[in-house]
C-alpha cells in the first residue's frame, strides 16, 4: 500500500482545483498535490465557451451591484446574498488576475478586455441587457484551463494524473486524506494530508441529453455524501436551452448574446411572448421552459421535439471571429452551415446548482448552523455556496469556480498554519479496496453501460425540466430497481491495468447516489422556483420554501431533510419577471 504525505491534497484539476493549487503553491513550504482522474487540460472547464462575467464596464456602464442583483434575481431569490456579493465584487479582480497570468482575452480597439451580452445580465437592476461577459472567442474556458495549468506547472505543483479518488478519510472529526486508484496500474494509494479539497465538477451524466463530458459523474459529491456530509439544493438542476438536437453539445449562450434568435415551426420568435424585456437573453430556466411549452403545444420544428436557433441574419464574419467553435460544431456534427441554415436545438442537461455545502471560504459545512468540518474544502460545480440559488446565470460558473477556488486556496493556507496532522487509522484504504474488489468479483449478468443508459433516460423523463409527484415517485422506484441490479453486475475486464470497465462501474455507483439525492430533494420541495418546476405546485412559495434543502443519508440507509435559511442582505424577494 502506497502512502503519500502532503500538507494539502486537491481532488480535481478544473478551474476550481487549479486556482486553489496555484494559491497554495505560492507558499514555498507547503507540499501540495493535485489528484485528477483526467489529465488536467481535459477537465470540463475547457469546454466552457461563452465567457466569464465581471462588471468591468469596458464597453458600457456597469457595476458589481448590478451583477449581484442579476445573480440574486436569476437564482429566484434562493441565492445567499453574502456569497453573491463576494462573487460580483471579486469577479472583477479575478478577471484582471487572469489577464495578468496570461489569459488571451479578446480586446476592444483601445486594448481593454472585450465584453458581450449574456442571458440575464442587465443594467440598472433589470432595465435592459448589458455587456458583461469577458471572452476569448468562444473558447473562454479552454483559455482559463490552459492558463491556470501553465501557472501551476510554473510553480511546480505536484500532479497525480489519471488517479481516481474513491474515498475521503476523516478521523477525530477532521479531514485527513483521500484514497485513490491509479488507473494505469490498478494500485491503491493513500494520500495523508492536513487539508483536503474537492473540486470534482458536475454530474450531467445522470441525464441522457447533456452538454457534460462522459467523465462528469458526480464522484466528489457522492463520496462526501457517503461520509455523512449533506448535499444542498440538489433539486435545482439546470437545463441549458440550446444543446444540439439529440447530441446535447452546447451552442453557447454567447450565440444569443451576439444576436442569434430562437424560432418555432412557424418561424416565430416565440420568446417575445415569454420574456418581453430580455427576449432570447432571458435566464435559462425561463427559456428552457418556454421551449418545452412550444414543443408540447405542437410548435416544435415539423411538430417534433426541437426548435431552431437562427444565425442566418448575422454576418458570416461575426460567426467566424466570435463564434468559431460552435460554428464548426454545427458543420461537423450536423453538416449545417449556420450562416445559411438554422441549427436544430433542444434543452440539454448542463449544470448542478446544488452540491457539497460550503461557507464563503470554501469550507465544507455539516448542518444548518454552518458547522465546519475542519480541513475539508469544496469549490466549483461540485460545491454549493450558494451563489446560483435556483438557477445559474450564464458566465457565473466560471466566476464561481475561480473566485471560490481562490478563496478556498487562501483559507487552506491559513488553516494549514495552525492545523495539526491527524494520524491515519489502521488500513485507511480498506473501504475503497472492498468497493473495488466487490465490483471486480461480482458474478451477476447486468451490464454497467445498460444500467447507466436506463438511469439517464428515466431521469430525463421523470426528473427533467418539468416534474410532478407521480413522476418523481416512479423515478424513486426505478432507482431502487437499478440499485438492486447494480449489485448483480458483471465486468468484462477483471485485470488491473487501465481497467476502465471497473472505473465506469464505480462511477455508476456515484451517478445513482447523486440521482437519488436529486429526485428525493425534488419530490420534497412542493413549490416551483427557478429550474425546479413542479407542475403540481406551479407557484413559488416563499412562506414555506425560502430555504435551502440539506439532504442526509444516514448510515442505516434512511434519509433526513434539514433546512438552512437563505441569507438576505440587500435585495428582498420580488416577483421574477423579465
Amino acid at each position: 500500500m502506497a502512502v503519500h504525505e502532503f500538507d494539502a491534497v486537491i481532488v480535481g484539476a478544473g478551474g476550481a482545483g487549479l486556482y486553489a493549487a496555484m494559491e497554495l503553491s505560492r507558499q514555498a513550504d507547503l507540499r501540495v498535490a493535485v489528484i485528477s482522474k483526467l489529465y488536467p487540460t481535459r477537465s470540463h472547464t475547457g469546454a466552457a465557451q461563452g465567457g466569464i462575467g465581471a462588471a468591468l464596464g469596458n464597453m458600457e456602464e456597469d457595476h458589481w451591484e448590478w451583477h449581484m442583483f442579476d445573480t440574486v434575481k436569476g437564482g429566484d431569490y434562493l441565492v445567499d446574498q453574502d456569497a453573491a456579493e463576494i462573487l460580483a465584487r471579486e469577479a472583477i479582480e479575478t478577471v484582471y488576475d487572469l489577464e495578468h497570468l496570461g489569459l488571451p482575452f479578446d480586446r476592444t480597439p483601445d486594448g481593454r478586455i472585450a465584453q458581450r451580452r449574456f442571458g440575464g445580465h442587465t443594467h440598472h437592476f433589470g432595465q435592459g441587457p448589458v455587456r458583461r461577459a469577458c471572452h476569448a472567442a468562444d473558447r473562454t474556458g479552454h483559455m482559463i484551463l490552459q492558463t491556470l495549468y501553465q501557472q501551476c506547472l510554473r510553480q511546480n505543483v505536484r500532479f497525480f494524473n489519471e488517479f481516481q479518488v474513491l474515498d475521503l478519510l476523516v478521523e477525530d472529526g477532521a479531514a485527513c486524506g483521500v484514497v485513490a486508484w491509479e488507473i494505469l496500474t490498478g494500485e491503491l494509494h493513500t494520500f495523508h494530508a492536513r487539508a483536503v479539497m474537492f473540486a470534482t465538477g458536475g454530474w450531467g451524466r445522470i441525464y441522457k441529453v447533456t452538454s457534460n463530458a462522459h467523465t462528469l459523474t458526480g464522484d466528489g459529491a457522492a463520496i462526501c455524501w457517503r461520509r455523512g456530509i449533506p448535499l444542498e439544493d440538489m433539486e435545482f438542476y439546470q437545463f441549458h436551452p440550446t444543446g444540439i438536437y439529440r447530441l446535447g453539445i452546447l451552442m453557447s449562450e454567447a450565440a444569443r448574446g451576439e444576436g442569434a434568435v430562437l424560432r418555432n415551426r412557424y418561424g416565430e420568435r416565440f420568446m417575445e411572448r415569454y420574456s418581453p424585456t430580455l427576449l432570447d437573453l432571458a435566464p435559462r430556466d425561463i427559456i428552457a421552459r418556454a421551449m418545452i411549452t412550444e414543443i408540447r403545444e405542437g410548435r416544435g420544428i415539423d411538430g417534433k421535439d426541437y426548435l431552431h436557433l437562427d444565425f442566418t441574419h448575422l454576418p458570416r464574419q461575426l460567426l467566424e471571429e466570435k463564434l468559431p467553435d460552435i460554428t464548426s460544431f454545427a458543420r461537423i456534427y450536423l453538416g449545417i452551415d449556420p450562416a445559411t441554415q438554422p441549427v436544430p436545438v433542444q434543452p440539454t442537461a448542463h449544470y448542478a446548482m446544488g452540491g457539497i455545502p460550503t461557507d464563503v471560504w470554501g469550507r465544507v459545512v455539516l448542518d444548518e448552523k454552518n458547522t465546519v468540518l475542519p480541513g475539508l474544502y469544496a469549490a466549483g460545480e461540485c460545491a454549493c455556496v450558494s451563489v446560483h440559488g435556483a438557477n445559474r446565470l450564464g458566465t457565473n460558473s466560471l466566476v464561481d469556480i475561480l473566485v471560490f477556488g481562490r478563496r478556498a486556496g487562501r483559507d487552506m493556507v491559513r488553516y494549514l498554519r495552525e492545523a495539526e496532522r491527524v494520524p491515519l487509522r489502521h488500513n485507511p484504504d480498506s473501504d475503497a479496496r472492498e468497493q473495488m474488489e466487490r465490483l471486480l468479483r461480482s458474478e451477476g449478468k447486468e451490464k454497467v453501460a445498460v444500467l447507466r443508459q436506463e438511469l439517464a433516460e428515466n431521469m430525463m423523463e421523470y426528473c427533467g425540466i418539468f416534474r410532478d409527484e407521480a413522476g418523481l415517485r416512479k423515478m424513486l422506484e426505478i432507482l431502487g430497481d437499478l440499485r438492486e441490479r447494480y449489485r448483480r453486475i458483471r465486468l468484462d475486464d477483471r485485470g488491473r491495468i487501465f481497467n476502465q470497465d471497473l472505473l465506469e462501474a464505480w462511477e455508476l455507483g456515484c451517478l445513482l447516489d447523486v440521482a437519488e439525492a436529486t429526485v428525493r430533494s425534488a419530490l420534497h420541495r412542493t413549490e416551483s422556483r427557478g429550474a425546479h418546476m413542479r407542475e403540481d405546485y406551479p407557484k413559488r412559495d416563499d412562506e414555506n420554501w425560502l430555504k435551502h434543502t440539506l439532504l442526509y443519508r444516514k448510515p442505516d440507509g434512511t434519509f433526513e431533510f434539514r433546512y438552512k435559511p437563505v441569507v438576505i442582505t440587500r435585495f428582498q424577494p420580488q416577483a421574477r419577471t423579465y
Binding site: 483526467l38 489529465y39 487540460t41 481535459r42 477537465s43 470540463h44 475547457g46 469546454a47 468591468l56 484582471y96 489577464e99 495578468h100 497570468l101 496570461g102 488571451p104 482575452f105 479578446d106 480586446r107 476592444t108 480597439p109 483601445d110 486594448g111 481593454r112 478586455i113 476569448a136 472567442a137 473558447r139 479552454h142 483559455m143 490552459q146 501553465q150 501557472q151 506547472l153 510554473r154 494505469l184 463530458a213 462522459h214 447530441l247 453539445i249 467553435d325 460544431f329 461537423i332 456534427y333 450536423l334 453538416g335 451490464k447 454497467v448 453501460a449 445498460v450 443508459q453 465486468l491 468484462d492 475486464d493 485485470g495 488491473r496 491495468i497 487501465f498 481497467n499 476502465q500 470497465d501
Partner: protein, 232 residues
C-alpha cells in the same frame, strides 16, 4: 446501417503482442467513431480501453489512428469514412493498453519550452493593454488542446525521441508572439538547440492532421525566422 470496426487490441496482462479484433456495429452515418467505440464497450466487449471525455473535440483525450490518419474519434463521423474502419493507437508513444498510450513523454516536451507567461513588471491594477492586432498575432496557437495528434504524426518525432515535436513548438509560439511576454529570447534559445525547431523538415503532416486547424508549419517557420533574426 452496419459498420465493421477493426481495432488493434493489446492488453499487457494477457497478450504477448498486439492483434486485430473485428466488431460489427449498427451505426447512423452521423454517428461519431467514438459512438461506435462506445457501442463496442457497452455491448460487445467491455474490456476495450480508450481515453475520452468531452465527446466534441475540445478536451483532446481521444486521439487515435483512424483509417491510417491521426484524428479525434469524437470529431470524425462514420459517413466520412465508410463502412470499414480501422482504429489503432497513436504511433511513437508506448502502448499501455488497446488505444491508450503513454502521454508522459509528450507532456514532458511541452513543459520544456516554458509554456507560461513570463514578465518582470508588476501588473497594473487593471488589465494590461493589448491591441486586437497584437492579440491576433498569436491567436492561432492558443487553440491547441494538447491532443498529441501533430507530434505523433511527425516522422521526425518517430525517428528520434529527442525532437520537441510540433505541439511543444506551438506552445512556445503562443508565448513568444504574445506582446505581454518577456522571455522570448530564453525560449528561442531552447528551440535553437539540437532537438529544437531546426529538426523540422517541413513535412506538413502536423498541419494536415491538427483537429483545431492550427497552421502549425507556418508557426514553426515563424519560430525559425525569429531565431535567425535574433542571431543577427
Amino acid at each position: 446501417m452496419k459498420a465493421t470496426i477493426r481495432i488493434k487490441r493489446f492488453n499487457p496482462e494477457v497478450d504477448r503482442r498486439p492483434y486485430w479484433a473485428e466488431y460489427e456495429v449498427p451505426v447512423d452515418p452521423f454517428d461519431r467513431v467514438l459512438d461506435a467505440l462506445h457501442y463496442i464497450k457497452a455491448n460487445l466487449d467491455g474490456s476495450l480501453a480508450l481515453r475520452r471525455s468531452c465527446a466534441h473535440g475540445i478536451c483532446g483525450s481521444d486521439a487515435m489512428l483512424i483509417n491510417g490518419r491521426n484524428r479525434l474519434a469524437c470529431k470524425v463521423l462514420i459517413k466520412d469514412l465508410g463502412p470499414r474502419i480501422t482504429v489503432e493507437p497513436l504511433r511513437g508513444l508506448r502502448v499501455i493498453k488497446d488505444l491508450v498510450v503513454d502521454m508522459e513523454p509528450f507532456f514532458e516536451k511541452y513543459r520544456q519550452v516554458m509554456p507560461w507567461l513570463i514578465t518582470d513588471e508588476p501588473p497594473p491594477p487593471q488589465e494590461r493593454r493589448q491591441t486586437p492586432e497584437e492579440r491576433a498575432r498569436y491567436e492561432d496557437t492558443t487553440k491547441c488542446i494538447l491532443c498529441a495528434v501533430c507530434t505523433t504524426a511527425c516522422p521526425i518525432f518517430w525517428g528520434t525521441g529527442e525532437f520537441l515535436g510540433p505541439a511543444a513548438l506551438v506552445a512556445a509560439h503562443r508565448f513568444i508572439f504574445d506582446s505581454r511576454d518577456q522571455a522570448a529570447q530564453q525560449r528561442l534559445q531552447i528551440l535553437a538547440d539540437r532537438s529544437g525547431v531546426f529538426k523540422c523538415r517541413t513535412v506538413f503532416n502536423c498541419t494536415e492532421a491538427c483537429p483545431q486547424g492550427i497552421e502549425i508549419t507556418k508557426a514553426i517557420q515563424e519560430l525559425k525566422q525569429a531565431i535567425i533574426l535574433s542571431r543577427t
